[in-house]
């Protein structure tokens, strides 16, 4: 037995974990008959990768099986990390077509959550670049599901609840350098931030850090960061000989759990003010290395420990285009007034996406962390309600506490998902603490 939780370290449980090294290992684990769930690198914040039965640690299946430099298609086992894919293929001129805000996620986890990146508004989610997945179903049979097939569409965004993803083929993106041309725009408030996003629908990447602490006229002031992969011609002459080389960064690690009071209203407020001023002082274009652009948090190992022993929870919803402006105002108002605003709040424009069960849809997504305590859990219930009032839905990869009724009210796809689980025999076999809590 091991103590296991998600990245938020919220409500850990004693769990049975078995490491999978091959397809045969997964078959043996399934043959035992009890409930299982696949776990990638445990970067989902809540309980989606913890099973009440046996949690299958997929990191032992981390082999890259083939790469075709003509098409950019990589075939790999599900436990390989995006960080390993980048380390291996960026020097050859390839980068993941979609990447979340940390590179320490597995291929399987990226598919199961259909993760989104800063390019969702133009490219869609991770699933849009997957050619096929091989899934071991409840009976131990392995199916190669091609993009567009039923099993494929349920598995992308299916949170491990259709079966165990063993292997997948993904299409990478060609890049000329390891650098990003970034342009930062400081906005005085939320409306202006939304206007910037709407005016930048053709920017390859866009994301905003949003201040959820400041109230009044500057409510929701943001730093909107637009980006595109730099070409060789964008680099200063001295860098052109080694266009994929970027300065090495020292990786810091949080060595122990910080006491709960390290992050309080005052430190977070001061951080937000300072961060905003820093960004506002030097807006405009800049050339930044791929790792600082996509993964600023990866520079700090185990940063989830800064929230102390009780852990933290994340709230992430998406609001549809027509109600996003109103809904975001309400959400940010309530968060700022509560005095619990976090220092990592992210606002992002989604483009159209129509999927069986995946999270993204056209509109705006807001994500932020809270240290876990009664006050923040109460606040999140209010945020749930506002999201529902504006027709929004919630990201399961971030959820650790949502009540079943909220999910059902938010997402009319739940009934079909349950019916699929019952019909395929996946229900009762692929079970996470989250799927139990939400009755999936």
């Amino acid at each position: 037995m091991t103590r296991l939780a998600g990245w938020g370290r919220f409500r850990p449980v004693e769990a049975r974990v078995a490491r999978m090294r091959s397809e045969a290992d997964v078959a043996v684990a399934l043959a035992a008959g009890g409930p299982v769930i696949a776990r990638g690198n445990g970067r989902a914040y809540g309980d989606s990768a913890v099973s009440p039965g046996v949690t299958l640690d997929m990191r032992g299946m981390d082999r890259m099986l083939a790469f075709d430099p003509a098409t950019g298609v990589l075939v790999a086992e599900a436990g390989v990390l995006l960080s390993e894919i980048i380390a291996c293929l960026l020097p050859r001129g390839w980068f993941p077509s979609v990447t979340p805000g940390t590179r320490y996620v597995t291929l399987g986890g990226a598919i199961a959550a259909d993760v989104h990146g800063k390019n969702h508004h133009v490219d869609g989610g991770f699933g849009a670049f997957v050619d096929w997945v091989e899934v071991m179903g409840p009976d131990g049979r392995v199916t190669r599901a091609e993009a567009g097939s039923d099993l494929f569409s349920w598995t992308v965004g299916g949170m491990g609840l259709t079966g165990v993803i063993l292997r997948a083929a993904i299409r990478l993106r060609r890049v000329e350098t390891g650098w990003i041309c970034q342009e930062t725009r400081a906005t005085a408030g939320l409306d202006e931030a939304i206007d910037v996003f709407e005016g930048a629908m053709d920017a390859p990447y866009s994301v905003a850090w949003i201040d959820c602490v400041t109230e009044g006229p500057h409510l929701g002031r943001s730093l909107v960061m637009l980006g595109r992969h730099a070409g060789v011609g964008d680099l200063p002459a001295a860098r052109r000989r080694d266009p994929f080389g970027v300065p090495r960064k020292r990786r810091l690690t949080v060595p122990l759990d910080l006491p709960g009071l390290a992050l309080n209203r005052w430190t977070v407020g001061a951080f937000n003010a300072a961060y905003y001023r820093l960004g506002a002082r030097k807006p405009g274009p800049a050339l930044v290395p791929w790792d600082s652009y996509f993964y600023p948090l990866d520079a700090i190992g185990d940063w989830n420990r800064i929230y102390g022993r009780r852990g933290f929870v994340q709230f992430q919803c998406v609001l549809p285009e027509d109600s996003a402006r109103r809904g975001l105002h309400r959400l940010v108002e309530v968060i700022a007034a509560s005095g619990q605003g976090s220092f990592l709040s992210v606002l992002k424009r989604f483009g159209p996406q129509d999927s069986r069960f995946a999270f993204p849809r056209a509109g705006y997504t807001l994500a932020l962390d809270f240290p876990a305590h009664d006050g923040s859990l109460d606040l999140m219930q209010t945020l749930d309600r506002i999201t529902l009032e504006h027709g929004g839905r919630f990201y399961l990869a971030k959820d650790a506490r949502m009540p079943r009724a909220v999910l059902e009210a938010a997402d009319d796809r739940v009934a079909a998902f349950r019916a699929m689980r019952a019909a395929t025999g996946a229900a009762g076999r692929f079970v996470s603490l989250q799927s139990e809590r939400l009755g999936l």
Partner: protein
């Protein structure tokens, strides 16, 4: 040997977690890799992985550690005599079974001592004749002192450690270097489910990095996590009168 390592690198017992990590580290240096195990067909995905990640040449070979008579033929049949040969062969079994059943115990002794020693011996002779090479034996801290909890496995590893030490001594002036690796606890299939203090448990990737560094720097005996040198010094120093009453 010191400086940049050259291939090919032979990995014996290539299906183990440590072996996989070691193979990756050498392949990352550009070395061609020879993977050997009892069922080489199980290594197909690992071969593909090393080729895809590092663009090196990888060959697969069948070897049975317990079939000592086949070892000379196995080494002669390799596409090239390796520059570096690593033995990651090992079998722990259940101590209770090993203590009760002597057939079982004999298998543990042979798989951890006789088999690896025979393979290293054949390779040593060939490397001596060539006048160069590095042999790496993954032995165990369990071989440093026999303990009730795993003395069958431990005694076989003790034999292997002594064998490696003798080979090193014999070959020191012949251009062949021998590295003994005493990994301590490593998070592998062997230790899965054991309740071990996290600070003492190395990840297989640490073993890979430590082995590569030892080969490049020409180290003789390495512990992967340095605390183990201290722990084993204490365990070895305990008087037998005291030691026999402990349960560690």
């Amino acid at each position: 040997m010191s400086g940049r390592v050259q291939g090919p690198v032979l990995i014996l017992g290539a299906t183990s977690d440590m072996a996989r990590a070691i193979a990756r580290d050498f392949a990352a240096r550009g070395c061609d890799i020879q993977l050997a195990a009892r069922e080489p067909e199980r290594l197909e995905a690992d071969r593909a992985d090393l080729v895809t990640r590092y663009g090196v040449g990888v060959t697969l070979h069948a070897v049975d550690a317990l079939d000592v008579d086949s070892h000379a033929g196995f080494v002669a049949g390799l596409p090239a005599l390796p520059r570096v040969a690593v033995s990651a062969i090992g079998l722990m079994g259940e101590q209770a079974e090993n203590a009760a059943d002597m057939t079982r115990a004999a298998t543990i002794l042979r798989a951890n001592f006789e088999g690896p020693a025979s393979l290293m011996g054949v390779l040593a002779n060939a490397m001596e004749a060539r006048g160069s090479g590095t042999l790496v034996g993954i032995s165990s801290v369990a071989g440093e002192r026999g303990r009730a909890s795993n003395y069958v496995y431990g005694s076989a590893k003790a034999g292997f450690t002594a064998y490696l030490s003798g080979l090193r001594n014999r070959l020191a002036k012949k251009g062949v270097h021998v590295v003994t690796v005493l990994p301590g606890f490593v998070a592998t299939r062997m230790t899965e489910g054991m309740d071990l203090p996290a600070r003492l448990v190395a990840q297989p990737e640490e073993v890979g990095a430590a082995v590569l560094a030892a080969v490049e720097k020409g180290r003789d005996v390495i512990y992967v996590r340095p605390v183990w040198r201290l722990i084993m010094a204490i365990i070895r120093a305990l008087p037998e009168r005291v030691f026999k009453k402990t349960s560690i």
